[in-house]
Amino acid sequence: MAAAEFPVIERPSVLAWRRFAHRRIALVSLAVLAGIALATVCAELLAPYPQGRTHATDVLADPGRDYLLGTDTLGRDTLSQMLYAGRVTLAVGVSVALLATFGGTLIGMVAGYTGGLVDAVLMRLTDTLLALPGLMVVMMGARMLGDSIFDVVLVLSLLGWMAVARIIRGKVLSLREQEFIAAARAMGAGPGRVMFRHLLPNLVGEMAVAVSLATAGAILAESVLSFLGFGVSAAHTPTWGNMLGGNEGFMTIAPWLVISPGIAIVVTVLCVNFIGDGLRDAFDVRSDGRD
């Protein structure tokens, strides 16, 4: 960036941040999300009990002084479990979002810039996958792969890139007709250089929005998969989703077991969505629903 030579023009990143910070709800969401993330990262320090510690004498205990959010059927403290589970849930959400966004960006960029047969094949694939009943495909994929964190991340990423690819392709189609691309090609830049050095920096806004929205989607998808018993195995790793799925049967006698992880999911996803909306305004990505 040559900001020093053109002091009048604000750096795009600074401009974007200013516009983002102008939106109070986005800033509040960012703070809340940072708090949640920090709490789960510091679970060892914050959690009242170690991960997975059972209390045989306090099974399904009510919320109270000893257990702020009660205990589950094995007498595990819900609050401690939630802190450790949140770490996994957030990690899965962010990893899926990053993988899906980079995959989608690559495919959208190649399709949009190359055009012709490559574009037709890639977009037909994208549209077909997009038109499928997503959860069914994800469930079948999860059943074929397995129930480790890695498997769940893989299957959600493999089936989460399509929307990003469409958006990126649309943007690339308009970018590639502009003068700076023609200039780069006239100077002898090959397709790889044009895409990664000239197109990619112009796609940062779209990618930032995509990452945030994909994170929200991935957290929801993981929770649904786990609830149905096709997600990360509760035996090894607690997630907010499998805490819900595993405790559903005790909902009427121990509602806190189902209410607390659910609220954690809702608050997190809500924050991520508000941040995504703020980013959309900040980077002036084609809006939907907002003006």
Binding site: T128, M139, M140, M144, G229, T252, I259, I265, L270
Partner: protein, 328 residues
């Protein structure tokens, strides 16, 4: 128009075939085509080999695929491996009917609610109503569908019932009919639909209202609205006849694109409320390894989603004459 419809249907066929190959391959990896007999240690290897041979399981992949496809297209969905070897089709037919009732109720309600809320938000842009609607729609897309269902069950089934001191609760939280119900009772059936339909609808209302708001704002700033106002039409006529009608076009396409996602909501809703539809049939087939049932439910849902996409595209043509003419 007819040619357009035929062409669209023609492009659907290869996609459906590709999907069917993928589904057949996946189902063969997820479930055992030979059922539990394949791993039962009390079955002698010779008997097992005979059984596999009789099912045609020793044939190459594509031979088995083609034979399954042939049966499927002719309407023979096979026999269930779990439900005492009974035909798959009656189960699918009942479940499909139940699902269609639930889905159409939810979609009609959410389109009506979403379009109304979105239109009001757009007309009173920046007002308190708009603010509330926007916030609630953000909440709507952030709540996991199954959790909303659980909370509704908890509230209506437990807290509200306890508070009012009534048993059974005002709204039933599971199944299709009350226990001991004889024959068809419309009121009872509808009461069982309320909570699942609400669960399935919230997210849709949120999504549709946001699309409607954006779409109407877009339309209201266009020239033909100014022209309509300039002709001295009443504001009400301008908004409804010239604004809303045009704003509906992107909303319907988006509604169609969301059909695939709707299936996800449907699966969890049916699971939470033990509603005997296609989603529950699919989950049970996955869990129980019921191979023919898995193939049947997956293929029928995939085909239904694609058909609904097509139907929405055609409806798009009805709303926007330019597309109809362009297709000739």
């Amino acid at each position: 128009m007819t040619r357009y419809v035929l062409r669209r249907i023609a492009t659907m066929v290869p996609i459906l075939l590709a999907i069917s190959i993928a589904v057949f391959w996946a189902a063969n990896r997820i479930a055992r085509p030979g059922g539990d007999l394949a791993i039962n240690p009390r079955v002698s290897p010779a008997d097992r080999a005979d059984y596999f041979e009789s099912l045609g399981l020793n044939d190459p992949f594509f031979v088995r695929y083609l034979s399954w496809l042939g049966d499927f297209v002719r309407g023979d969905l096979g026999t269930s491996l779990v439900r005492n070897g009974s035909d798959v089709w009656p189960f699918v037919r009942t479940a499909l009917a139940n699902t269609l009732v639930l889905v159409s109720l939810a979609v009609v309600l959410s389109l009506a609610a979403g379009i109304t809320i979105g239109a009001i938000s757009a007309i009173r842009r920046g007002s308190f109503t708009d603010y509330v609607a926007t916030t609630v729609s953000f909440l709507g897309i952030s709540i996991p569908v199954f959790w909303l269902g659980l909370m509704l069950q908890l509230f209506f089934g437990l807290y509200l019932a306890n508070w009012l001191g009534i048993t059974p609760p005002l709204l039933p939280t599971a199944g299709l009919y009350s226990p001991g119900q004889q024959g068809f009772d419309l009121v009872d059936r509808l009461r069982h639909l309320v909570l699942p339909a609400m669960t399935l609808s919230l997210q849709l209302v949120a999504v549709y209202s946001r699309y409607m708001r954006a779409s109407l704002l877009d339309v209201m700033s266009s020239d033909h609205i100014r022209a309509a106002r300039g002709r001295g039409l009443r504001e009400r006529t301008v908004v409804v006849r010239h604004g809303v009608r045009n704003a509906l076009i992107p909303v319907t396409t988006q509604a169609a694109v969301d059909m695939g996602q709707l299936v996800g909501g449907l699966i969890v809703t049916e699971q939470v409320f033990q509603y005997p539809g296609m989603g529950r049939l699919f989950v049970n087939a996955m869990v129980g390894g019921d191979y023919p049932m898995l193939l049947a439910t997956t293929m029928i849902v995939a085909a239904a989603v694609m058909l609904l996409n097509l139907a929405a595209d055609l409806f798009y043509g009805v709303l926007d004459p330019r597309i109809r003419r362009g297709s000739r």
